[in-house]
Each structure stands twice: as C-alpha cells, then as structure tokens.
C-alpha cells in the first residue's frame, strides 16, 4: 500500500473520535435525505395512484361539461298508476342516463381536440348510470317522483349499476387502458378486437367488473341486460385498488344507442405529447370549448385533500427542509472538525513543506482523509436511510385522499372506495336493495362529486436515491477537505515550525 493510504488510514485511526463524529453527522444527514426522498417518492406514487383512479393512467387532461341542476332534472319513472284501475299491477322501468353532474359533448369535439398542437391522443367515453326499478303500482298521484318522501308507501325495488361506453378504436387511453387493470388485460384486448371486427349492428359485447360479476353471479358467456338490450359477457376485468371504473363496459356506439345520445360522449380523455405541453394544450382546449371543464392532473392534485395531501406537503416542506438543515449542519460540522484537525497538525504540515512537499500534495492528503470520512458517513447513512424507509413503510398510517371540488370528478368514474360519481348511493325509504357498485347514484340534483381513496404510504428506494446519498456524502467530505486543505495550503512552513505545541 502506498505511503499516501497508510498515512491517511493511520491519521483517521489516530483521531478516530473526531472522524466518527464527522462520519456520523454526515450519515445522519444522508440517512434523513434518503428517508425523506423515499417518503416523498411514496407520496408521489400515492398521489399518482389517486390521480390515476380519477383519470385513468396515461391521461393528462379530461374534458367534461358540467350539467346545470335544471338540465339534470329529476328522475321520474312513472311509478304511479295512471288511474285507479292500474293500482296493484307490477311494473318494471329502466332508465339509462348520463352520469350525474355531466352533460354530453359532441363526439366531433374529440377529433377537434386531437388536431390541436401538442395533443398525442384522445378518446371519448360515455359514462352512464342505469337505474332499474320494479314494483307494484300504488295509489300515488300520476307521475309521482320516485324520490324520498313521495312514494314512501309504494313497495318497489331499485337496482343500479354503471356503464361506460368505451371507444373500441382507442384501446390505449381511457378507463380500460391496460395500466388500470390487474386482471383481464387479455380479455380487454380480445374485446377491443372483437368489437372492431364486428358489424355495427352486432356489438352487444360487454366486459364486466369482476366484483360486480360476482355479486350478480355473472360469468363469461352470461347475458346482462342494459336498458332492455341484452349483452353477452365476453370477459371479466379487475381494476387496481385505486383505479376506478364502471360495473359494465360496452362499445361506445352501443352506449350511445342505449342512452339515445348518438354521436355524443360525456368525458374526453386527452394525452399531451409531453408534460411540458399539458398547460398549453389545456389552454387550447379551453379556447376551443369555452364552456367545458378542462381538468389537468395538476388541477386534480391541487384539489386532493385529506391526510395524503398533508403528507405531501409535509414531505415537500418540512421533510425537505429538515433534511437540508441536517445535511447543512453535517457539512458545517465536518468542515469545522477538519479545519480544527488541520490546526492541530500545523507543525506536521510545516515539516512536510520543509521537506519539499508541495501544497497540493498536502491538500490531497487532507482531502483524501475527509473524503474517506464522507464515504464512511455515506455508507452508514445509506444503512440509516434504508432503515428509515423501512420504518416509514412499516409504521406509516393509511392515508386518505379526497377529491371533491366542483368539476373535479364530473367526468371521472367513481372508485372502488367511498363515494361515487356524484349524487348519493344506496336507496331511499321504501326502496329495495341497491345492487350497484360504489359508483351507484340516484341523483335528483347535481351534487359535487367526491372521490376518496385509502392508500398505504410506502417509501420506495431507488438506485438514484442511493446515488444521491453517495454524492452528498462525498460532496460533504470534499467541502470539508477543501476547507481544511485550503487552511493547510495557506500555512507558511516557517510559522508552522516556530509553533510551540
């Protein structure tokens, strides 16, 4: 081993306590940076999951148009007998309507948007809510509204489910994009292929969400009736825990026919060429469609509330600043201790200079010692950081993210968690069981939709984080070494040799 390394190693051993303090200081700083960075990455992942659940993966912008309360109207199923003679007769009614809070857009808008600068892809979907009411005609007044309070004495049951009309020409975007699926990717591909190959009059092919299928005992090959039209279940799909979706997916053309909304959609999904163009595309769409609600992922992120939002701001502000402060303190400590060590070795360096050692060689020696301390600090810091990230993953509470502002979820499918796409779920007095999913709704009036997702915070580590840690530790060592080296280089050998120690 060369004299350089022997001298370096023994010098560090001689002042092992001071070297340990420097290394531990750097280790704490590095460990904290790793933990905070990992936690921040976890928060970002969680945010991204929330956004995906609202949006679908790959979507940068959604375009919807908010329904006015009057345009939503009330749901009337004509459950009251026209005359007393019909009283006691059973009835069955279906109603398929645009998801609450949404009004339809012309499908031609999809192609108009696709021609805008910076737009990489577009697709339109028609999100529908189906309400199936069966019961016996009672004695209420004709045209009674089936709302709570007005038909409380009439026995009937309601089942609701949600239907998404998906454009089979755009498989990569929208609610059935593969990134949202945990199972059924192949089935979806097959569905897209079959729909594309089928004649327009023969597209009664449906995909059913697996939990809805289980609840309703549906399987591949079963038939499911939507607003009186029978669809064959081609396959079952499962969505990721945080992704949202409908109970049943059908080709867009079929959905439009069922809802008598030919040539219309109510949500347009847009992907920009790159992230930097999202804002510009948003402006262009807004210009093209002044009355539409154009929502970007950032808009959504800004409107997400709950503990996830708190965690995000903690990670962004407190965590980052804490890490920066600790790291800064570690750097200052390392620099001070290294300079103090040089001051204690003045005569030693003076002797070396007298023997003909150039200042750069002495600086190199000091720098080498400091960098080794930095590397040791970095290695220990990585260990602390990994431990910190592990603890964050282990003990972090479940985070809740709620997106509930106007326009936020108007076009977004509900999720598997609480809430849904607008309105209220469940039934009302006198109603039977509601078999719909969490997205079920029975809206009379537009209510701001809420969407809540529960997530477990993780602190994922990456090579980049380790690289950052090592770089920080070495930077700390270099800064300390350069300061100490600078002090050593400035020493005049005569002064150093005169010094009495």
């Amino acid at each position: 081993m060369s004299l350089y390394f022997r001298y370096l190693g023994r010098e560090l051993r001689r002042r092992s306590r001071s070297a340990a303090v420097v290394a531990v200081g750097l280790a704490l700083g590095v460990g904290l940076v790793i933990t905070v960075t990992a936690a921040a990455a976890g928060v970002k992942t969680a945010q991204s999951q929330v956004l995906h659940s609202l949006y679908g993966v790959g979507t940068d912008i959604t375009v919807t148009k908010t329904a006015t309360p009057s345009s939503s109207g009330g749901f009337r199923f004509g459950g009251a007998p026209a005359n007393r003679g019909q009283s006691g007769q059973s009835f069955s009614r279906d109603r398929l309507s645009s998801a609450p809070g949404l009004t339809t857009l012309q499908e031609t808008e999809v192609s108009s948007i696709s021609k805008l600068k910076g737009v990489a892809g577009t697709t339109g979907t028609l999100n529908l809510d189906s309400v199936h009411v069966t019961g016996t005609l009672g004695g209420g007044p004709p045209g009674a509204s089936a709302s709570p309070g007005t038909s409380s004495t009439t026995p009937f049951s309601i089942s609701t489910f949600t239907v998404d009309g998906v454009n089979a020409d755009d498989p990569g975007l929208g609610p059935l994009s593969s990134a949202n699926l945990t199972a059924g990717t192949n089935v979806v591909s097959e569905w897209f292929k079959r729909v594309q190959q089928s004649a327009s009059s023969d597209q009664q092919l449906a995909l059913v969400e697996s939990s809805y299928a289980k609840q309703n005992k549906l399987k591949v090959g079963s038939s499911v009736t939507i607003a009186g039209t029978k669809f064959t279940v081609l396959g079952l799909v499962s969505l990721s825990a945080t992704a949202s979706g409908a109970d049943i997916y059908v080709p867009l053309r079929e959905a439009q026919k069922l809802a008598t909304d030919t040539g219309k959609v109510n949500t347009i999904y847009v992907t920009a060429n790159n992230a930097s163009e999202i804002s510009q595309v948003q402006t262009e769409i807004q210009h093209l469609m002044p009355k539409a609600t154009v929502t970007t992922a950032q808009d959504l992120a800004n409107q997400v509330t709950g503990s996830l939002s708190t965690a995000a701001s903690l990670a962004d502000s407190l965590g980052v600043w804490l890490a920066v402060l600790v790291l800064l303190a570690a750097f200052v400590l390392a620099a001070l201790l290294t300079t103090a060590s040089v001051n204690r070795r003045v005569r030693e360096f003076g002797t070396l200079k007298a023997m003909g050692w150039h200042s750069r060689r002495i600086v190199g020696q000091v720098l080498g010692e400091a960098v080794v301390q930095g590397v040791i600090g970095g290695a220990v810091g990585i260990g602390l950081g990994v431990l910190g990230a592990f603890l964050v993953t282990k003990i972090a509470p479940t985070l809740k993210a709620t997106a509930g502002a106007t326009g936020l979820g108007t076009g977004a499918p509900g999720s598997s968690s609480t809430g849904g796409r607008g309105g209220f779920g469940g039934g009302f007095p006198g109603a039977g069981s509601s078999t719909g999913s969490a997205r079920s709704s029975f809206a009379h009036t537009f209510a701001p939709p809420t969407h809540t997702v529960l997530l477990h915070l993780t602190a994922p580590l990456s090579l980049a984080v380790f690289g950052l840690a090592v770089a920080l530790a070495i930077a700390g060592g270099l800064i300390a070494g350069l300061l100490g080296g600078w002090r050593a280089a400035r020493l005049q050998p005569a002064e150093a040799l005169r010094r009495v120690e």
Binding site: L3, R14, G350, A354, G356, S359, R361, R498, E501
Partner: protein
Amino acid sequence: MYELKQLTRVYPKGRGKVTALKDVNLVVQDGEYLTIQGPTGHGKTTLLLLLGGLERPTSGTVVFDGRDLGALGESQLVDVRAQNFGFVFQNYNLMPTLTAAENVEAALVPLRIPTAARRSRSIAALAEVGLAERASHFPAELSGGEQQRVAIARALVKEPKVILADEPTGNLDEGTRTEIVGLMEGLWRERGMTLVVVTHDTQVARRAPRTALITHGSLTLRMNRSRAAENSPDPQATAAAPEIEGS
C-alpha cells in the same frame, strides 16, 4: 555554496516591527560545518530558516548555488528544498502516525522515487544511524535520542547538499547529546555535505570550525581554531588565524 549579503529580516509585531536579522553578510563554503550560536530570540532560527528557503528576506539576498532564494517562486523554492536541504529539528517533528521507516520515506516523496526504491533507501538510512531494527516502530515507541536519529536519517536519505539542524540536541540529555552530535559530525565527514547547526550550547557550538555568533540580529564569526585546524589542509596557518573574524 551560500552567499548572504546585507540580509535583513523584519517581522511585524503588533503595531511595530521586530528586526530579527540586520545586515548580515556571510559566506558558507561547500562541505563546511558551521554552527550558529546566540541567546534565545536573537535571530538564530530566523537565519536557519532563511538558509533553508523557509523564509524570505525583508531585504538583502540569500544566494544558494548561484540562485537567489528570495527571488524564486514558491513552487521553485519547494523544489530547491526537496532536492538540496535536509532539516533536523529540536522537537524531531516526526509524523506520529508513521513508522520510523515511513517517516524517512516521506522525505523521498517529493523526489518522485519509485516506492520500492524509497523503502530500501529508507531502511539503509536508518541503518546508517543505527536504527535498522526499529524501522517499524512508531515515534511514540522510541526514545528522544532514537527519534532524533530517525530525524537525522530522514534529513540524510535524500542525500542533500546541506543539512540544516535547529537545536538538534536541545531536548536531549548530555550523553545522548554527545552521541547525536558525534553522529552528525561523522556523517558530515563521510559525505562531505555542508552542515549548519543552530545551538545555544557553547560546547556544541565550539565543535564546528566556525561559529556564527548572533546577538540582537547582528552576526559575528568566530573561528574555533583547534577544530578548524583539524579540518584544514593547512592546520598550522589555521591555528594561527585570529579567533574572531568579524561580521
């Protein structure tokens, strides 16, 4: 070898100044053994540092082998030190974390000698001062005399033209002092290098053929006739020379 002309060194002290050396003129021949004697704080060490290129004169010149040391750039001066001067200090100034051999080897680092050659020369230098068996010992494991012998080996290993020793026996007992002075003189005779020793000890000072007496920054040369005669090609003439030469 050395030619000092009107050499003055002034240090700032508070708001005033202290003149450590004033108008010193001195010629030191190749292979000469010169002692510098004087009371503490009168300029002995300053003169040694100027001879070793570790200080720059305030005025006047220090010419070594035709080169004005005060006019050289820092890097050139470092190279001159590395190649020509070996220093021995009162406090030995050994690196506490390096072994005796490594301390000696450190003197060869600036000369860019290959590692293996450095090691063998270091062991040889230690053998010359009688410490070959203590090569792997750290300074703290050696006595004062042994540490000073390591320092002498470190000064000798690069075969310098000049050995500059600052109170080399200042921290040693009488027996060790004689041993160290004897060792240095023996090496001086063997190698024919120039030896300049700063001391406040008259006994040590009188062992050199010439002594530079420094008082309040002024230099007076004294011939130690008996020692000069021992080392002169014409001992009778040297013995008859006046003891005080002047400054």
